[in-house]
């Protein structure tokens, strides 16, 4: 009895110290000068633009990585081809490589002066680095593995019999995918989408390197937090952090509300 209590206490205490206290302090500090001050700090044009840019990152990176993630998982699980193991390993690359390195790598490819294709693109009026496209690429890079990794085990588990049954009943490849495969893997996809969204919301390092951090132009919400913090605008930094934290919480909540119903288990 005592050991069970101790176990619970240890788990909760660990979480409280590591997660609960710091996050709570962020909330407390954000509202130290009152709700009005906090509200004002996150409604300045710079702040509004930063949140807008973060929404753009999420709006582009999440759907593209979801579609790619499902297709990639299907290729890895359902097909046999040369380079399948390589593809499988490559997907994990964003987990292994530090986001700063990702940012630098993007500079090497798209940088205007000495990037691999940067000059060619610049001549055609396309600016990637220090601009939204580069930041989207950085966000997509770091949030790529989540859907793939969540969907692969679910695809393995459901096997191919349901798909074969659909085929013998006359369903074509697309009908089988949309009527049988996708509904069967939907909770894996949903969880992958939540993780991708959280990662896209919170990405700092890679975006920081390729953004140029131009306030009001290439500043996402996380960059905005850093910017405010360095200028000793603590209310602004903490208030923006609270908004980010609430967005992440809302994502998790949405997933739980729409969560698996009994037939899926």
């Amino acid at each position: 009895m005592r050991s069970r209590l101790a176990l619970r206490f240890a788990a909760l205490g660990y979480l409280a110290l590591l997660l609960g206290v710091p996050v709570a302090l962020v909330f407390i500090n954000a509202f130290e000068d009152g709700i009005a001050a906090a509200w004002e700090a996150v409604t300045t044009p710079e702040a509004q633009h930063a949140f807008y840019l973060t929404r753009v990152m999420v709006a582009v990176a999440v759907p593209l990585n979801t579609i790619f993630g499902v297709l990639c998982a299907l290729a890895i699980v359902r097909q046999r081809f040369r380079g399948r193991a390589l593809l499988n390993a490559m997907v994990d690359l964003p987990f292994a490589v530090s986001p700063v390195v990702v940012g630098l790598a993007l500079l090497l490819v798209y940088g205007r002066r000495d990037g691999w294709v940067g000059e060619w693109l610049a001549e055609r009026g396309i600016q990637v680095i220090f601009s939204t496209p580069g930041m989207i690429l950085a966000t997509m890079f770091v949030s790529l593995p989540f859907v793939v990794r969540e969907v692969i085990p679910v695809l393995r588990e459901i096997g191919t019999e349901q798909e074969q049954a659909a085929a013998t009943l006359g369903a074509g490849r697309f009908q089988t995918f949309f009527r049988v495969t996708l509904p069967a893997i939907r909770w894996g996809v949903a969880y992958g989408v939540v993780l991708t969204t959280a990662r896209a919301l919170g990405e700092f390092g890679a975006v920081s390197v390729v953004s140029g951090k131009i306030s009001g132009r290439t500043e996402t919400a996380t960059l905005f937090v850093e910017n405010r913090f360095q200028r000793f605008d603590l209310t602004g930094a903490y208030a923006a952090s609270v908004v980010l934290a609430l967005l992440a919480l809302a994502t998790l909540l949405a997933m739980n509300l729409a969560g698996p119903k009994k037939e899926a288990l």
Partner: protein, 324 residues
């Protein structure tokens, strides 16, 4: 519709699953593919369904060459060992799947689903999910789903393999009756010789990717083409070095020409049947199956000396028949 499989071979890497297999299945018949696991029976069924492409040979369904036809357009019903139920759909949506794909009118689908659920005794379960059904109910749902599109042939891959013994026996009988009602050409795979004998009109014995014998249950039991079939479809004892069905032995209390002397080791009463274990003069052991009445009449007891011989119409392999 009839099915004609002609010289089909299929390899998986180095493993030969089917080796030059040819088979005819009559229109409206009920056929079992019987054999040990790895013998090729499931592969043959999947080749007929179009779920596997043969490396060589052809498949003809209802007079049309279907070798290259994808499963979607073969119009076969297929039932899997582990049901392959669509878990996210209700029972009625599962059964309706093939009709929904074919864009049939709503009223027609509803009527057909209702009719099929009654046929498989699942009316009342229409709005349940597969996870709320027992194994036997799930398999009946899978059967209704396969029958909904009025398939030209019905293929079942170890359909009762995942069910417990009681439900298995029930479903066997039920499949038999269903076939009498629906009359669709049916082929099912099983490794259980009793199941094949009880349900099928025609049994195809497959081993190592080859067909060992095709025949009625009685043919196979009484006139096995070789040792493998003889051992696979029924009990076998040895008498003077030859395989023999244990109930095809006469036990005599007096020596006669051609009979072999033996001593009774044990007499076991198994209800109607009595099992007699014997040792022959050369130390070989064998056993015989007789009725209780015979055992009583012969007054068999351990230690008694008796004489054994094959009855006149004993089951034999061709090798023995030609040697006699």
């Amino acid at each position: 519709m009839s099915i004609v499989v002609d010289s089909v071979s299929k390899r998986f890497g180095g493993f030969v699953a089917l080796d030059d297999v040819s088979l005819e299945v009559r229109d409206g018949s009920l056929t079992a593919l019987l054999g040990p696991s790895g013998g090729g029976k499931s592969t043959l069924l999947r080749v007929i369904a179009g779920l596997e492409l043969p490396d060589e040979g052809s498949v003809n369904i209802g007079g049309e060459d279907a070798t290259r036809t994808p499963p979607q357009r073969r119009n076969v019903g297929f039932v899997f060992q582990h049901y392959a139920a669509f878990k996210h759909m209700t029972v009625s949506k599962n059964v309706a799947f093939g009709l929904t794909i074919r864009r049939r009118p709503r009223e027609e689908i509803d009527a057909r689903v209702q009719e099929l659920l009654e046929l498989v005794h699942l009316d009342g379960f229409a709005h349940r999910y597969p996870s709320q059904l027992s194994g036997g109910q799930r398999q009946r749902m899978a059967l209704a789903r396969a029958l909904a599109v009025q398939p030209r042939v019905l293929l079942l891959d170890e359909p009762f393999g995942a069910l417990d013994a009681t439900v298995r026996k029930e479903l066997r009988e039920w499949l038999r009756r269903l076939h009498d009602e629906v009359h669709v050409t049916t082929v099912f795979v099983t490794h259980d010789q009793e199941e094949a004998m009880e349900v099928a009109e025609q049994i195809v014995v497959l081993n190592h990717g080859r067909i060992e014998q095709v025949g009625s249950p009685r043919d196979l039991y009484e006139r096995p083409a070789n040792d493998f079939v003889m051992h696979f479809v029924g009990p076998v004892a040895e008498l003077a070095g030859h395989p023999i069905r244990p109930h095809d032995m006469d036990i005599l209390t007096e020596p006669v020409a051609g009979a072999v002397e033996a001593m009774i080791e044990r007499v076991a009463h198994l209800g109607f049947e009595v099992r007699v274990d014997l040792t022959l003069g050369d130390g070989e052991r064998t056993w015989a199956q007789i009725t209780r009445a015979q055992a009583d009449e012969l007054e068999l007891a351990p230690g008694t000396i008796v004489w054994l011989r094959a009855i006149s119409d004993a089951t034999t392999r061709p090798a023995i028949a030609s040697g006699a």
